[in-house]
């Protein structure tokens, strides 16, 4: 059933966020420490485990696929939600600091990913129809 996939996703997210909150409390900081990242790792492992045993039904995969296809629309809603006016009103100091940090970080990307085999991402064979949003999206040429 589709809901099984969605529920699996929800359970992973809640567990990850819970661990992230606990880590935050343990470290004495008011932030969720990597909750979403932990949830993602958990989901990757659980899916891997279930798929190998053939326990992840196609409808359940569709439930997961739907939400990953909704990802870009949600990101666009998120961008429409940003406090853009405040960012620009923050004055030259904020703009210069933000822009410089991004540009310098960009320069560091090739340095740190050096030594990486430039493996192109494997074409998703089994998920191509499920990971809906991706099929109609091509790279910038």
């Amino acid at each position: 059933m589709v809901i099984f996939g969605v529920a699996l996703l929800a359970i992973c997210m809640l567990t990850g966020l819970f661990i992230g909150e606990v880590l935050g409390v343990l470290m004495g900081i008011e932030a969720n420490v990597g909750g979403v990242g932990l949830a993602m790792l958990m989901l990757v492992l659980v899916i891997d485990h279930l798929k190998k045993r053939g326990k992840l039904s196609l409808p359940a995969q569709e439930g997961l696929g739907f939400w990953s296809a909704m990802y870009i629309p949600i990101v666009i809603a998120m961008s429409a939600n940003q406090n853009v006016a405040a960012a620009l009103d923050g004055g030259p100091l904020a703009v210069v600091a933000g822009v410089t940090a991004v540009v310098i970080s960009w320069l560091f990307v090739p340095l740190l990913s050096k030594g990486a085999h430039q493996i192109p991402i494997e074409e998703e064979k089994e998920n191509s129809m499920l990971a809906g949003g991706e099929s109609n999206v091509s790279n910038i040429k």
Binding site: S68, V75, V84, A86, V137
Partner: protein, 254 residues
């Protein structure tokens, strides 16, 4: 008549947001195809349109949440809010390859620490250049340059003034917005085309919304790798900002 229409919109906020985002994406993909012949990706244009709407909403209402401060568009706040955003980010892990994450694990973790310190140092240096000389203000602005959450968390912890906290949030917002808009344009020059560089990218830049939006507009397959590191960045920043980074800044500035 107009009143009735507005009531229908206000009563069904999330549904309005689906329609509005769908229309925005349709326009964006149309523009991408016809005006740029596909050179600028549709989702990059859609994100820019979203930011323009956010700016218009912010100026119109004086609020903090972009277009969603206008009551008939409140659903955008729900659709693009933290809950569904995180849910969708987690779901992208469905397409990720665990072996790739393991392989890039070390450079991912290294990039996190380098990323937090790098942005912090840049922020402090620029705040200093703009005439701030006290350790509390410098640290807060430096932390805000990491992300717009680290800034206020650090500032509140070490007792910064509200003006400085506002600047730190603005610096983080500028970073996030530039990352969303700029990533697809810079990607090919910095080798951002494989899982490992995406993980490094997430760790270096760290703003989850910026990285997630920027990678989505570059190549959606890279999103889970960038997001998995970026989501640790704010936590690490909040941990280091009020502690190590503040103490070091204080020791240097005096």
């Amino acid at each position: 008549m107009f009143q009735i229409l507005s009531d229908v919109f206000i009563d069904n906020p999330l549904i309005v947001s689906f329609a509005l985002v769908g229309i925005t994406m349709y326009i964006a993909y149309f523009m991408s195809d016809k005006l740029t012949k596909g050179r600028i990706h549709g989702s990059a244009i859609a994100i820019i349109l979203g930011l323009i709407l956010a700016y218009a909403g912010g100026v119109w209402t004086g609020g903090e949440k972009g277009i969603s401060d206008i009551s008939i568009f409140a659903g955008i706040g729900l659709m693009g809010g933290g809950m569904l955003r995180d849910f969708a980010i987690v779901s992208t892990a469905f397409g990720a390859n665990f072996d790739e994450i393991k392989k890039a694990g070390f450079s991912g973790v290294a990039s996190l620490f380098i990323g937090v310190v790098l942005s912090f140092v840049v922020g402090v240096a620029i705040a200093f250049a703009f005439g701030y000389t006290d350790a509390v203000s410098l640290t807060t602005i430096g932390a805000g340059t990491a992300t717009y959450i680290v800034g206020p968390v650090t500032g509140a912890a070490i007792g910064a003034s509200s003006t400085v906290i506002t600047i730190s949030i603005a610096a983080g917002l500028v970073k996030s917005i530039l990352t969303m808009v700029g990533t697809p344009f810079i990607a090919k020059y910095i080798g951002l085309n494989n899982p490992r560089s995406a993980m490094v990218y997430g760790g270096l830049i760290g703003t989850t919304s910026g990285v997630a939006g920027g990678l989505a507009a570059t190549d959606p397959k890279l999103v889970p790798y960038g997001a998995v590191t970026a989501t640790f960045y704010t936590g690490l920043g909040c941990l280091m900002g009020p502690s190590v980074l503040f103490l070091v800044t204080k020791a240097i500035i005096g």
